[in-house]
């Protein structure tokens, strides 16, 4: 499979009262054509900042300081606004967590779906409307001919997320970035939406970058996984390796702290403590203060991504041949 998106060494910082602080540091990963990549981590780990950096939708106080983001071989960092606008919504589309707030309440559904078609593809009004109805049918909305003239508040959360997906699909993007697309939805509705995303991916041959905190969703949807912690990639590999042989102590802790439906657990294991704040990032490994295996080396020296096997890497001294005892 050829590479669609290549993110390498991206550091994105935000201006705070204490100067520029990096929210993500030296983030690298690739997405191949037709693949679903999962980005997992807890709140504040930088998964959303990563996606906003790719789309260059950062707020005014944020900027990409270093690194490169190549889409189909073309560098996106440093692209002019009007150039980037041609990529956004056309080659790369995005859906957000909150289907309630990401639709414009004063415009009809049809107009919101048609917008990108009129901008990117030069469709006329009637043509865009016809395509909007077609897209609504594609995402499984009943009575598409009527819904196209409705306002967003008339729809339920699940239906709104379907509309968001229809908007994203409008220009046949090669990459869909889905930032917690089902977090605000009930589990039976989540099942509908995930099913729809899987179906569209197969039909339209696109890649998906799925950002989520839910390891169940990752297991179900993704081919490969990137685990983030405190702004860094701590582990990456294909989905089976990550779940069968989690190698970073953070991934291990995360996997064992979820309550399971099957079997009976007397007690959940948990990761003690909290994520360090941006201002007080430790010099060594960022997980050291919560890690059961931490040694002196972990506190002073930060590990790089070390190979576990094949394409599976973990940012942990345990992976070092010399071991942690050094």
């Amino acid at each position: 499979m050829s590479t669609l998106l290549e993110v390498s060494g991206v550091t994105t910082s935000f201006k705070t009262a204490n100067g520029f602080l990096p929210a993500i540091e030296d983030v690298s990963f690739t997405i191949k054509k037709g693949e679903t990549l999962g980005i997992v981590g807890e709140s504040g780990c930088g998964k959303s900042v990563t996606s906003l950096s790719i789309m260059q939708l950062l707020t005014a106080n944020g900027k990409i300081e270093r690194g490169s983001i190549r889409f189909n071989g073309r560098e996106l960092v440093g692209l002019k606004d009007n150039e980037m606008r041609k990529v956004r919504g056309n080659d790369i589309a995005m859906i957000f967590q909150e289907p309630m707030t990401s639709l414009n309440p004063v415009h009809k559904i049809g107009r919101q779906i048609g917008e990108s078609l009129r901008i990117h593809k030069g469709y006329g009004k009637a043509q865009a409307r016809a395509k909007a109805i077609e897209l609504l049918k594609l995402v499984g909305i009943p009575r598409a001919e009527e819904i196209v003239d409705e306002y967003p508040h008339r729809l339920s959360g699940g239906m709104r997320q379907r509309v968001m997906i229809a908007i994203a699909m409008a220009c046949n993007p090669q990459l869909l970035i889905a930032d917690e697309p089902t977090t605000a939805l009930d589990v039976t509705i989540q099942a509908q939406i995930l099913d729809l995303m899987r179906k569209l991916k197969a039909e339209l041959d696109m890649s998906i970058m799925l950002i989520t905190h839910d390891l169940g969703v990752v297991a179900e949807m993704c081919d490969r996984v990137v685990v983030m912690y405190a702004g860094k990639v701590v582990e990456q590999g294909n989905v089976k390796d990550i779940f069968r042989n989690p190698s970073h102590p953070y991934t291990v802790g995360l996997l064992s702290s979820i309550p399971r439906l099957e079997g009976r657990q007397e007690r959940l294991s948990s990761i003690p403590g909290n994520v360090p704040s941006l201002e007080l990032m430790p010099a060594g490994c960022r997980f050291a203060s919560r890690c059961p295996h931490a040694t002196q080396r972990c506190v002073t020296e930060e590990p790089s991504l070390l190979p576990v096997s094949g394409e599976h890497d973990a940012r942990c001294w345990l992976m070092d041949e010399k071991g942690v005892a050094v």
Binding site: E42, S43, S156, G158, M159, D186, V187, T188, I189, Q190, A191, Q192, L194, D195, H213, D214, L215, G216, V217, V218, A219, E220, V239, K240, F243, G253, L254, L255, S257, I258, P259, R260, L261, E262, R264, Q265, R267, L268, S269, S270, I271, P272, N274
Partner: protein, 323 residues
């Protein structure tokens, strides 16, 4: 077995829908529509369902934080709905609540010490200020926070720590029942497991009973002894936690369980995908409320509401398949 600690019988909460200039009542939203269950001393009763099914309204109605419109609530042998204001206040010493949002449920202008002292003062516990201070420090230690931080404000704590403070506040009056309304859904998984373990420890230590309300089935199954599944204002199935998972009876429970993503990439199963959305509780479908989305819908389901029946010992279900 001895008398249950809490008995809820036919609990109803109808919210009026007012329309027009005269604000005339033109119908009702049946948020809770005839809910019955028991909670035994020291056990955890889980209440699970999707948004809008009435699980939170049920929890709040039990404490009369929302005044129920019908039914009976017997706590410790007393009919809670017949109590006057001051008696009700005394009763709440034994029944406490922990809320979902650890950011909104603590007063930002109070220190942690003031937050934890308030219920003690209201209920006239622990004599003087020195004694209360000692109790506050004890409570913080109990929930895994350092007693030396009692003079700090809520904003100085993380989400998980704030939820611990919320739990400490509920514990301050030594309750026998805590209603926990989505206590971990705002937390990250690693922190969520800390709080679930804490709730578990407190139950073992103090013998507190919980009504644990949540939408996350794995969490509810983990913590509960028995579980009630709610749909559109009614409990459709009630069973011990393990039995509910290994053999769900109601088609809605089956669909709900099959929709939960399993954190195992090699796990294979038949998924039941429900069509459509939850109907509005102001215009519930005729017959069985679930029939328009049910894969096993029969003719009778469209016209007649199913009876609430004990089909096996300790297993209740409202479904025509089992009549």
């Amino acid at each position: 077995m001895s008398e249950p600690l809490l008995q809820v019988r036919g609990l109803e909460k109808y919210f009026p829908i007012k329309k027009g200039v005269m604000r005339l009542t033109r119908g009702h939203v049946r948020a809770v529509d005839g809910v019955s269950f028991d909670v035994r001393e020291g056990e955890t009763f889980g209440l699970v369902g999707e948004s809008g099914c009435g699980k939170s309204t049920t929890g709040r109605s039990i404490l009369r934080l929302i005044e129920p419109t019908g039914g009976q609530i017997i706590f410790n042998g007393k009919d809670v709905r017949k109590l006057g204001r001051s008696e009700m206040r005394k009763m709440r010493r034994d029944m406490q609540i922990v809320f979902q949002d650890p950011y909104a449920s603590l007063n930002p202008r109070y220190t942690v010490r003031q937050i934890l002292e308030e219920p003690m003062i209201i209920h006239g516990l622990y004599g003087g200020s020195a004694e209360r201070k000692k109790k506050v420090a004890d409570l913080l230690e109990t929930v895994g926070l350092s007693g030396s931080r009692m003079n700090r404000y809520p904003h100085e704590f993380s989400g998980g720590q704030r939820q611990r403070i919320g739990i400490a506040r509920a514990l301050a009056v030594n309750p026998r029942l805590i209603i926990a309304d989505e206590p971990v859904s705002a937390l990250d998984v690693s922190v969520q497991s800390q709080v679930l373990n804490l709730l578990d420890d407190l139950q073992k230590e103090f013998g507190i009973a919980y009504v644990f309300i949540a939408h996350d089935l794995s969490v509810v199954k983990h913590i509960s002894d028995r579980i009630g599944v709610m749909y559109l204002g009614k409990i459709v199935e009630l069973a011990p936690a393990d039995g509910l998972y290994s053999k769900p009876l109601h088609p809605y429970t089956q669909a709900l369980l099959s929709a939960v993503p399993v954190p195992d990439p090699e796990f294979k199963r038949e998924r039941i995908i429900l069509q459509g959305d939850l109907p509005s509780p102001s215009k519930p479908p005729t017959g069985c409320h679930f029939h328009p989305r049910c894969k096993d819908c029969m003719e009778i389901c469209k016209t007649t509401a199913p009876e609430w029946k004990e089909v096996e010992p300790d297993r209740f279900v409202a479904c025509h398949l089992y009549n």
